[in-house]
C-alpha cells in the first residue's frame, strides 16, 4: 500500500538525505557534506513580505470560534473565509521574518531551510488568493487551504531535527524561544484554517447534525463545546496503554489509571490538542513506570497506578497526573522544556528521523478511509485511527477535511520507545496556546507530578507569541 503512493520517491529521498545528515552531525566531520547537499534558500525581494509583516495578527478565542460557528449563515461563512484568507499570510509572514532574522548558518540547515521554503511557498500561494465572495469561491479556498495544511504535516519533526542539528550554532534560550513562537503560530494557523474547513463542511452537510449521536453535536467546527477531562484521560489512557502493551510485550504489566476529583468538569477545547497533551503525559508516566519495573530485579509485581486528579475552580480546570515512575534524572531535569538541548539529543535526533515516515503512513491510511490494515501491526496506527475517527465526526470523502489532526495523530500513535524529546515542550506550547499552563515537579527516585491547567471559560484569546518574543517587527 505504501508503494502505490506517488509521494514515495520523494519520501525515501528525503529520508536518505536526513539519515545522511544525521550521521554527519554525529561525526562532526560530516557537517560540510550536509551543507553541500543542500543549497540555501534563494534570495527573494522583501517588498511583498514587508507589507504582510506590517499587519497585526488578530487573535481569536475558543468562545469566539464557538459562538461564530453555532449559527452559521452564508455571509458568516464567507466572512470566516476572508478572515482566514488574510490571517494566514499575515501570520506566516511574521514567522518567515523570524526565520530570516536567524543566523544564516541556521537557515542553511537542510531541515530549517525546507521549512522556510514550505512557509514561503505557502505564503506566496495564500497572499495571492482573491477575496472570497461566493460559496463556490469558498470551496476553492478550502481546497487550497486544505492542500497547504497537508503539505505542512511534516513541519514539526523537521523543525525539531533542524533545531537539534543547530544546537551548537545558537544560544539555547534563543533557539527555544524561536521554536516556541513558530510552533505556537503553527498551531494558530491550523486552528483557524481547520475551523473554517470544518465550518464549511458543517454548512454543506446540514443533515449531518440531526442524524448524529449527541456527542458529535457537541462540536462546533473543531471546538468540542463540552470537553470532559475524565473522558479524555480515560480514552487517552486506554490508547497509550494499548500502545505500550504492544511495544513492551504481553508479559509487561501496564499500570492502571486512577481518576479522582471533579470528574464532571467540562470546558470548551480543541479535542486533538488536549488529547495530545494528556497522551504525552500518560505516555511519559507509563514509560517511567514500566522502565523502572524492568530495572528492578525479581518477578514483575503489579505496578503502582497513575493517579489523575481533576480539579475544577471558577476559572480553571487543573489536571494533575502523578506517577511513581522514578522521577526525572538530575542531568535531564534542567532540559525537559527545551527543544534543542539535553543529554539525550543524539538519540532523539535519530528517533526523529523515523517520524516523517510515520506521518506519511498515517496520511495514506486516512486518505484511504481509515479502516485499512496498517502495514506494520507494531506501529498500531490503526487503533488511533479508529479512536480518532470515532471521536471526531464520521469520516467524509473530502481529503482536505480528513487531514485535520494527522500531524498530531502521527506523534500520538508512535511507538513508546521512540523518544522524540519534544513531548513536554510541545505539550506546553499547546497548553499555553489557549492561555493554560503545564508544570512539572519531579520527585527524583519516586515519580513525577504534572499539572495541566486549562482556562475553563474559553474566553481567553489564543496566545500567539511568548511574552518575551519580539514579534511582528
Amino acid at each position: 500500500m505504501l508503494r502505490t503512493c506517488p509521494q514515495k520517491a520523494q519520501w525515501s529521498l528525503g529520508l536518505t538525505r536526513r539519515a545522511a545528515s544525521c550521521v554527519g552531525i554525529r561525526t562532526s566531520v560530516g557537517v560540510p557534506q550536509v551543507r553541500r547537499a543542500h543549497a540555501p534558500p534563494p534570495w527573494r525581494p522583501a517588498y511583498s513580505l514587508d507589507q504582510w509583516v506590517a499587519k497585526e495578527a488578530r487573535p481569536i478565542s475558543l468562545r469566539q470560534l464557538m459562538v461564530f460557528g453555532r449559527t452559521l449563515t452564508e455571509s458568516r461563512l464567507i466572512g470566516s473565509a476572508n478572515y482566514v484568507r488574510t490571517e494566514l499570510p499575515t501570520r506566516l509572514a511574521h514567522r518567515i521574518r523570524d526565520m530570516q532574522t536567524l543566523p544564516y548558518v541556521v537557515v542553511t540547515n537542510p531541515h530549517i531551510s525546507q521549512v522556510y521554503e514550505l512557509y514561503y511557498k505557502a505564503f506566496e500561494g495564500l497572499r495571492r488568493l482573491p477575496e472570497v465572495k461566493t460559496l463556490e469561491d469558498n470551496e476553492r479556498f478550502c481546497e487550497k487551504v486544505g492542500q497547504s495544511l497537508q503539505e505542512h504535516l511534516t513541519v514539526i519533526p523537521k523543525l525539531a531535527m533542524g533545531v537539534l542539528e543547530c544546537r551548537g550554532l545558537m544560544g539555547q534560550a534563543d533557539m527555544d524561544r524561536f521554536m516556541n513562537t513558530i510552533l505556537r503560530s503553527r498551531i494558530s494557523r491550523r486552528v483557524i484554517a481547520e475551523q473554517h474547513i470544518a465550518l464549511t463542511e458543517t454548512f454543506h452537510n446540514p443533515h449531518h447534525f440531526p442524524e448524529s449521536p449527541l456527542r458529535e453535536a457537541e462540536f462546533v467546527g473543531e471546538v468540542l463545546v463540552k470537553c470532559n477531562a475524565k473522558d479524555v484521560v480515560t480514552r487517552c489512557g486506554q490508547e497509550v496503554a494499548a500502545l505500550a502493551q504492544i511495544a513492551y510485550g504481553p508479559s509487561t504489566l501496564i499500570p492502571s489509571i486512577n481518576l479522582s476529583g471533579h470528574l464532571h468538569a467540562t470546558f470548551p477545547y480543541i479535542l486533538s490538542h488536549i488529547e495530545y497533551i494528556i497522551g504525552e503525559l500518560l505516555r511519559n508516566s507509563i514509560q517511567g513506570i514500566v522502565e523502572r519495573q524492568k530495572a528492578t530485579p525479581g518477578p514483575p509485581t503489579k505496578p503502582p497506578p497513575i493517579e489523575v486528579t481533576v480539579c475544577e475552580a471558577q476559572q480553571h480546570v487543573i489536571i494533575r497526573v502523578s506517577d511513581q515512575g522514578g522521577g526525572i534524572p538530575r542531568d535531564v531535569l534542567p532540559h525537559i522544556w527545551s527543544f534543542s538541548k539535553g543529554p539525550r539529543s543524539d538519540s532523539t535526533l535519530q528517533n526523529l528521523n523515523q517520524v516523517p515516515k510515520m506521518a506519511a503512513t498515517l496520511q495514506e491510511l486516512r486518505v484511504e478511509g481509515g479502516k485499512t490494515t496498517a502495514p506494520d501491526p507494531k506501529s498500531s496506527t490503526i487503533s488511533k485511527m479508529d479512536i480518532a475517527t470515532h471521536n471526531f465526526r464520521s469520516s467524509s470523502p473530502k481529503s482536505g477535511v480528513l487531514m485535520h489532526d494527522s500531524s498530531l495523530a502521527s506523534l500520538s500513535s508512535r511507538d513508546p520507545n521512540l523518544r522524540l524529546g519534544m513531548g513536554l515542550p510541545l505539550s506546553r506550547v499547546y497548553a499555553e496556546y489557549w492561555a493554560g499552563s503545564l508544570e512539572l515537579h519531579s520527585l527524583e527516585g519516586y515519580g513525577v507530578d504534572a499539572f495541566l491547567q486549562i482556562s475553563k471559560l474559553g474566553n481567553k484569546n489564543e496566545q500567539l507569541t511568548m511574552r518575551a518574543s519580539m514579534d511582528a517587527v
Binding site: G261, C311, A313, G327, D331, S442, L443, Y446, D449
Partner: protein
C-alpha cells in the same frame, strides 16, 4: 546635621577608647564633606558603642562564601585541642565581617524604619554582638581559656539573636506604610539568608566545642546520648531521617491545631520513609514545621480535617554518573590529615538528596493569593488581623521557631514560606508550591544532601 549624642553608658572596647570620632565612610555622599569631630552621628538609641571605623573597615571586606567543607573541615568530634582552636579562629575570621555587613545593610534602611523600636532593637543587637567579638579581632585563639571564653561569646550571640525574626517581622509590619514592599523583600531576603549562615557558623563551633570538650576529664562522649551523637558533626546530622523529623514536627503542629481548632489532623508518610541523608536537623525542622502548619491549617479550615495529609519522601538514587572524581575530593578537604581524626570528604556535588512532597486536601490557594505566597509580611488573615494586640503572634512564632514554649496561634506573621524557602535554598535546595484551587495543594521540598561524609 543632627548632632545628638548617644547615651554615654556604653562600654568602650579597649582599642577604641578615646576614639569617639566617627568617620563617615559608610555614606559616600557625606564622606566628601568630612564632618568635624564634634559632629557626632545619631544612631538609634543604643546601649552599645562601636566605632564606625570598625564597622566600615569590616564591612568593606568581602564575605567568605560558606561551604559545607568549611563546616566539617576540622574533623569529626571529639576534636583535639588544636583542631578546636582552628575551628574557633576560623569562626572568628568570618563572624565580625558578616555582622558588619548586616549592620551596614540596616543602616541603609530609611531612617523612619530603623527608628522603629523593633528594628532598632535588632540593629542594636548587631552592634552589641559585634562589640563582643571585636576584642578578639586581632587575636589568635591558642589556649583553652580563650576558646572557652570565645565560645561563651558565641553562645551569647546566638541567644541575643534568637528572636530576630519575629521582632523584624513586627517592625516591618508596623513600618509597612513607609517602605515599599520590594525594598523590604530585598532587605529581608539578604538579611535572613545571611542570618542563617551566621548562626550556622556560630552554632557549629558551639556544637563542636560541646561535643569535643578536650578541656574536661576524658569521659564526656559516653555521657551524651551516644547513638544520636554518633552521626553528628557539630550541627550536621550525617544520617538524618526526614521521617522522624516529620513525625515530631507533625505531632507538634497537630497539638497546636488541636488547641486552636479542636481538630487533630493526621498524616501518612509514604515513599521511602527509611531514607537518611546529611543535613542540618534544625533547618529541616523549621521548614517542615512551616509547611505542616500551612497544610494542617488549610485542611482543618476547609472542613476536611479527616483527610490525612500525605507526605511522600523520595530519595534520590545514588548517582551512577557525574560522580566527582578523586581530585574533587582532594581539593574539598585540604585539612584534617591527623591520623587519629581521618579527613572528612564532603562532596560538593552529586550527593543524594531527598524530595519531600506534602499533599493536602485543604482546597488549594486562590489565584489572587498565589502570587503573594513568597512575600514577607503576607498573611492569609484579613487586614484587621494584621496587627494583633501584642504577644499572640509573637508567642506563636517563638513557639514555632522552637525558641520558647507555649504558643496558641498557628498563623504567624507571614514569614513561614519565604523563610522556609530561604532555609531550603541555603544548601541549594528549594520549595515549590502547586495549588489545585478547589482541591488541595502539593508542596515540593527539595533538599540536596550535604555531601557524603565517609569516615
Amino acid at each position: 546635621m543632627i548632632t545628638i549624642c548617644r547615651p554615654l553608658r556604653y562600654y568602650l572596647p579597649r582599642a577604641q577608647r578615646g576614639d569617639l570620632q566617627r568617620k563617615l565612610s559608610t555614606s559616600p555622599g557625606l564622606a566628601r564633606h568630612p564632618s568635624p569631630s564634634a559632629h557626632r552621628w545619631s544612631h538609634p538609641p543604643s546601649s552599645t558603642i562601636i566605632s564606625d571605623n570598625d564597622v566600615a573597615s569590616l564591612a568593606s571586606k568581602s564575605l567568605h562564601a560558606l561551604s559545607l567543607a568549611d563546616l566539617v573541615k576540622h574533623g569529626r568530634p571529639p576534636l583535639p585541642a588544636p583542631a578546636l582552636f582552628s575551628s574557633a579562629n576560623f569562626t572568628l575570621s568570618l563572624l565580625p565581617i558578616r555582622l558588619a555587613h548586616r549592620i551596614q545593610a540596616l543602616r541603609n534602611l530609611p531612617f523612619i524604619v530603623v527608628s522603629n523600636p523593633n528594628i532598632s532593637k535588632i540593629y542594636n543587637n548587631y552592634l552589641h554582638s559585634l562589640s563582643t567579638l571585636l576584642p578578639y579581632n586581632h587575636k589568635t585563639i591558642s589556649n583553652l581559656q580563650d576558646e572557652i571564653k570565645f565560645t561563651e561569646v558565641l553562645a551569647d550571640l546566638v541567644e541575643t539573636h534568637a528572636h530576630t525574626i519575629p521582632t523584624l517581622a513586627r517592625g516591618f509590619l508596623e513600618c509597612r506604610k513607609y517602605i515599599n514592599p520590594t525594598e523590604v523583600t530585598r532587605f529581608l531576603d539578604g538579611h535572613l539568608r545571611a542570618r542563617i549562615g551566621t548562626r550556622l557558623i556560630a552554632e557549629q563551633h558551639i556544637a563542636l566545642h560541646m561535643s569535643s570538650q578536650p578541656h574536661s576529664p576524658p569521659n564526656p562522649v559516653e555521657e551524651q546520648i551516644p547513638d544520636q551523637s554518633a552521626s553528628y558533626i557539630g550541627v550536621i546530622d550525617t544520617a538524618l531521617e526526614p521521617a522522624s523529623i516529620i513525625n515530631s514536627c507533625g505531632n507538634f503542629v497537630s497539638e497546636i491545631c488541636e488547641l486552636k481548632y479542636g481538630v487533630r489532623p493526621t498524616w501518612i508518610i509514604d515513599g521511602e520513609p527509611d531514607t537518611t541523608f546529611a543535613y542540618v536537623p534544625v533547618h529541616l525542622e523549621y521548614i517542615i514545621t512551616e509547611l505542616l502548619k500551612n497544610a494542617f491549617r488549610a485542611t482543618v479550615e476547609s472542613g476536611r480535617g479527616h483527610e490525612p495529609i500525605i507526605i511522600t519522601i523520595a530519595a534520590e538514587p545514588e548517582s551512577q554518573r557525574g560522580m566527582p572524581t578523586s581530585s574533587t575530593i582532594e581539593s574539598a578537604s585540604p585539612s584534617g590529615r591527623d591520623p587519629t581524626n581521618p579527613p572528612i570528604r564532603p562532596l560538593q556535588t552529586s550527593t543524594p538528596g531527598v524530595t519531600i512532597r506534602i499533599r493536602d486536601r485543604g482546597g488549594g490557594i486562590s489565584p489572587d493569593v498565589l502570587p503573594n505566597i513568597w512575600s514577607y509580611s503576607f498573611t492569609t488573615f484579613s487586614d484587621e488581623d494584621d496587627l494583633p494586640p501584642g504577644s499572640g503572634n509573637m508567642d506563636a512564632l517563638n513557639a514555632l521557631s522552637g525558641t520558647a514554649g507555649g504558643g496558641s496561634s498557628i498563623a504567624g506573621l507571614g514569614y513561614g514560606l519565604p523563610l522556609g524557602r530561604a532555609y531550603a535554598e541555603y544548601f541549594g535546595g528549594g520549595i515549590a508550591v502547586q495549588s489545585l484551587y478547589g482541591w488541595g495543594s502539593d508542596v515540593y521540598l527539595r533538599l540536596k544532601g550535604l555531601g557524603r561524609l565517609d569516615i
